[in-house]
């Protein structure tokens, strides 16, 4: 049953990818709901995949740098500390409330991104992912897998817990060749 839903989602994704390749550089958020038996799946498309093969990128002519690897590596330990600082300072005394945590998640996300950008690591793309949830005797599993170059790309993660909520922060850094 879950496989059917996943296949459907995958097919929807592929279909949407090919339809929207005609229009370029638009930000669309689309949602469709597909119902199969007693499982429900919603697909939301935040941005379109890049068009590598067809249209050439706009005018910027890039010269060869003859660089094989990054000049400055991503400092995992520093970022770990940043995550610890930000999460503890924002969430130490907070209790889980839907509206408050909604705003908090977005704010913390932006704050972490700004602080990582301040480190000024050139040619790295940053992805910050925050999950804040209520502690309610339930179990939860968060996993992630990445397809990248392990010599240059890395990630950093921190989990914060207090009596009523938990927060997981992940920062992924990919080297832009």
């Amino acid at each position: 049953m879950s496989d059917v839903a996943k296949d459907k989602a995958a097919r929807l994704l592929k279909k949407r990818g090919s339809v929207s390749s005609l229009s370029s550089h638009e930000v669309k958020a689309k949602e469709t709901i597909g119902k199969t038996k007693d499982s429900m799946s919603t697909v939301s498309y935040i941005d379109e995949p890049g068009q590598q093969d067809d249209n050439p990128r706009p005018a910027v002519q890039m010269e060869n740098t003859y660089q094989l690897g990054p000049a400055k590596r991503f400092p995992v330990a520093t970022v770990n500390n940043i995550l610890k600082d930000v999460l503890t300072s924002y969430l130490q005394e907070e209790k889980y409330e839907a509206e408050l945590c909604r705003q908090m998640t977005k704010t913390i996300c932006e704050v972490i991104k700004a602080r990582v950008k301040d480190l000024m690591i050139p040619r790295y793309k940053i992805i910050v992912l925050i999950n804040i949830g209520q502690l309610n005797e339930q179990n939860m599993r968060i996993g992630s897998r990445c397809l990248w170059d392990p010599t240059n790309d890395t990630f950093s993660s921190y989990t914060f817990k207090n009596t009523s909520l938990f927060a997981v922060a992940n920062v992924y850094a990919a080297y832009f060749e």
Binding site: N136, Q138, D153
Partner: protein
């Protein structure tokens, strides 16, 4: 039940990644999966990305059945 969740998350993420890799596009992928038991608890997720808007993107799928929620996010970075 709790022991199988580990396996499920790994399977979901690995299969997503292998199918994405089969597409053969020049992209780096980051796939994240959250599986949560339905117990009345709330969950908020946010993500903020520093990348090139014209070439990179992300996609999120939310799925549920009678006993759990599953959220899968894929981020694609162009090479």
């Amino acid at each position: 039940m709790h022991s199988r969740v580990n396996q499920w998350t790994s399977n979901v993420v690995e299969q997503c990644l292998s199918q994405l890799a089969k597409l053969g596009k020049p992209f780096k992928y980051i796939v994240t999966c959250v599986i949560m038991q339905k117990n009345g608890a709330g969950l908020q997720t946010a993500s903020s990305c520093f990348w090139d808007n014209s070439t990179d993107g992300s996609c999120t799928v939310r799925w549920e059945n009678k006993s759990m929620y599953c959220i899968v996010s894929v981020f694609g970075l162009a090479l």
